[in-house]
């Protein structure tokens, strides 16, 4: 019953000055909405990147040189032949090249790849075909292009069968890749893919950038990884010549980075929630001052300290929780708006729970001091207060 009267008195305090209560609550609304939205954006980014990485398959392995050691295409064959837990391996040479078709020119990312590369990374064509082992063996002058390259060079005409010139050599377009969209701020469709052997000859090099391997299963990835490391340790006599990274390791790293990002965004947004809490404390202090006489009357007719304390605590928590609830609604609206503009933003139960808990805590923390002030008031002084 004391709680009931506390609730009633708090309700009267809040509705007694609607505009002031609303403005005070606004601080919490903005804070909670910011927390929900920014955490949503962070988790959206995480989901995006995770999905992107998962598309490459969880059992792929990336092998790169750490500097001095120069990979060659034979290393890829070596890995594929000697490691039983590796299904296939393909060398890749990446660079950027100027492309020309007729009078049109365009700069694109170029990948020279071994025959099984497309299978390893799950690349698919929308039109035509991918090049195969024979094209690689015969240094075929064939190219598979991304949709951006197709648009930029051919502007609506069909690129199939046309010849693209790269450093004076002509390549016949045999396929167009299925659009992949942007990943981590990079247009994955501004790409031309040719057999690695052909690209090496064009660039007059026998260098490769890295090797993509595919394990037989995701359970054997760690086994494959250490096996590959051992092979290169024996070959070069050092244990730091190459870096072997499995897809699951990349996933872990990305998760850690985006997780930190989410926490940071949430923490920054929390600052506004703290500011909102200060606003509540401020208004509660004013409210205690204004209602000094009421406190005096209540004490005279028998209210104990804890009755008064509870009344003002309930009032500040109600303000804060009400703001939290409206903030969750606004945050939900904002994330919907963000999704409308094409970004990923997710509201998770945990972020809603966090916002609720945090706003209740803010209400409690900012209400304690004013409520204690109210509870401590001397009844005689309070009754005389004008």
């Amino acid at each position: 019953m004391i709680l009931r009267e506390g609730l009633r008195a708090a309700w009267m305090g809040i509705t007694g000055n609607i505009l002031r209560s609303a403005l005070t609550t606004l601080g919490i609304i903005i804070g909670v909405a910011a927390v929900i939205t920014l955490i949503g954006v962070g988790q959206g980014a995480q989901a995006d990147i995770t999905q992107e990485i998962n598309r490459l398959g969880t059992n792929s392995i990336l092998i790169a040189s750490r500097g001095e050691y120069r990979f060659s295409s034979e290393d890829a064959d070596e890995i594929a032949n000697r490691v039983p837990t590796v299904q296939r391996a393909a060398p890749v040479l990446t660079t950027t090249l100027a492309l020309r078709w007729g009078t049109e020119t365009h700069r694109a990312n170029a990948e020279g790849a071994g025959g099984s590369y497309a299978d390893i990374i799950g690349l698919e064509v929308e039109q035509g075909r991918l090049f195969d082992e024979d094209d690689v063996k015969n240094r075929g002058r064939v190219a598979v292009i991304g949709s951006t390259v197709a648009d930029e060079l051919f502007a609506g005409r069909s690129p199939m069968g046309e010849s693209i010139h790269i450093q004076g050599q002509s390549f016949t377009v045999i396929g167009i890749m299925r659009p992949q969209g942007a990943a981590m701020g990079q247009d994955r469709d501004n790409l031309i893919m040719v057999p690695i052997t052909t690209l090496q000859r064009t660039l007059r090099t026998d260098r490769i950038s890295m090797i993509y391997a595919q394990g037989t299963s995701s359970e054997d990835i760690d086994l494959a990884t250490s096996h590959i490391e051992r092979i290169f340790e024996v070959l070069t006599g050092r244990d730091d010549s190459i870096a072997v990274t499995s897809q699951s390791q990349i996933l872990e790293i990305v998760d850690a980075i985006t997780g930190t990002l989410t926490v940071m965004l949430g923490a920054i947004a929390s600052i506004s929630l703290v500011v909102g809490g200060i606003g509540i404390m401020n208004i509660m202090l004013v409210s205690v001052k204004e209602r000094t006489r009421e406190i005096g009357i209540r004490k005279a007719v028998g209210a104990r300290r804890r009755d008064i304390l509870l009344q003002f605590l309930i009032e500040s928590i109600a303000l804060s929780l009400g703001g939290g609830f409206l903030g969750i609604l606004s945050g939900w609206g904002l994330t919907a708006l963000i999704r409308f503009f094409g970004l990923t933003a997710i509201i998770t139960p945990s972020s809603v729970l966090l916002a609720c808990g945090f706003s209740a805590a803010v209400g409690l923390a900012s209400g304690v001091y004013p409520a204690m002030q109210a509870a401590r008031l001397d009844p005689i002084q309070s009754l005389r207060y004008e």
Binding site: M1, I2, R293, G296, I380
Partner: protein
């Protein structure tokens, strides 16, 4: 035959303002028995407000003993004093001291909310009290919709709702016109006739004239304790 509601023995109250010590009460002693109607009089600065606060358990004596309905209020915590006020006392103030945002009924319920009892029972008791003061038809009005006399009757109903052992009125007629003043005094006299113990702090002789006994204070000391009849004879 009549038990003492108030027993005050050699009560002193000293306010320590730092630079000077103010002796508001300098050894006041008296008993008030159940069923009495007592006026406490004195010019301003005589200590009658302090005495009122002491009787009302809003303040503690610096020295001396105060028994309210047999309970010693010395060394009681603030919360225990709040309980004693709620249980034994009803207050009527000069400025009415009603909560403006509440209806008359809710104002009367207020002291009962600090007692463990069912909400329906509280409401019932408050309605009875308002009927008793003749405001059954004004229950759902707010104080700003009531006249001064009506407000003071709501305040009286609030003090009666808790069935107090002692009704303390601090200049209850101070903000009332003469007609409302007569009404109120008639009502308080009627209550007293029905057995309620009433203490009125006032500086008006005709208010004190309604009481059976007058205690006069001057400079913190009790200078007279006499039946009211003698005043009229003077």
């Amino acid at each position: 035959m009549c038990e003492a509601v108030v027993q005050i023995t050699d009560v002193h109250r000293i306010y320590d303002t730092g630079a000077v010590q103010v002796h508001a009460l300098r050894g006041v002693s008296f008993d008030i028995h159940s069923g009495e109607m007592v006026a406490i009089m004195g010019p301003s600065g005589s200590g009658k407000s302090t005495l009122m606060h002491t009787l009302g358990c809003l303040d503690r004596p610096t020295h001396g003993r105060y028994l309210l309905a047999g309970e010693d209020i010395a060394d009681r915590s603030d919360d225990e004093l709040a309980r004693l006020r709620n249980r034994y006392l009803g207050f009527v103030f000069q400025e009415f001291n009603l909560l403006p945002s509440m209806t008359a009924l809710d104002n009367v319920i207020l002291p009962l909310t600090y007692r463990p009892m069912a909400q329906a029972r509280r409401r019932e008791r408050a309605e009875q009290a308002l009927e008793q003061v003749g405001l059954a038809d004004r229950m759902h009005h707010r104080p700003n919709q009531l006249s001064g006399g009506q407000k003071q009757r709501v305040a009286v109903a609030r003090s009666l709702a808790t069935d107090p052992s002692l009704l303390l009125a601090d200049e209850p007629t101070g903000n009332l016109d003469s007609e409302a003043q007569e009404d109120l005094m008639r009502f308080l006299t009627g209550l007293n006739a029905d057995g309620m113990t009433v203490v009125i702090v006032t500086h008006e002789e005709d208010v004190a004239g309604h009481c059976g006994r007058i205690i006069r204070l001057l400079d913190g000391e009790m200078v007279a304790d006499e039946p009211a009849g003698e005043v009229a004879n003077r």
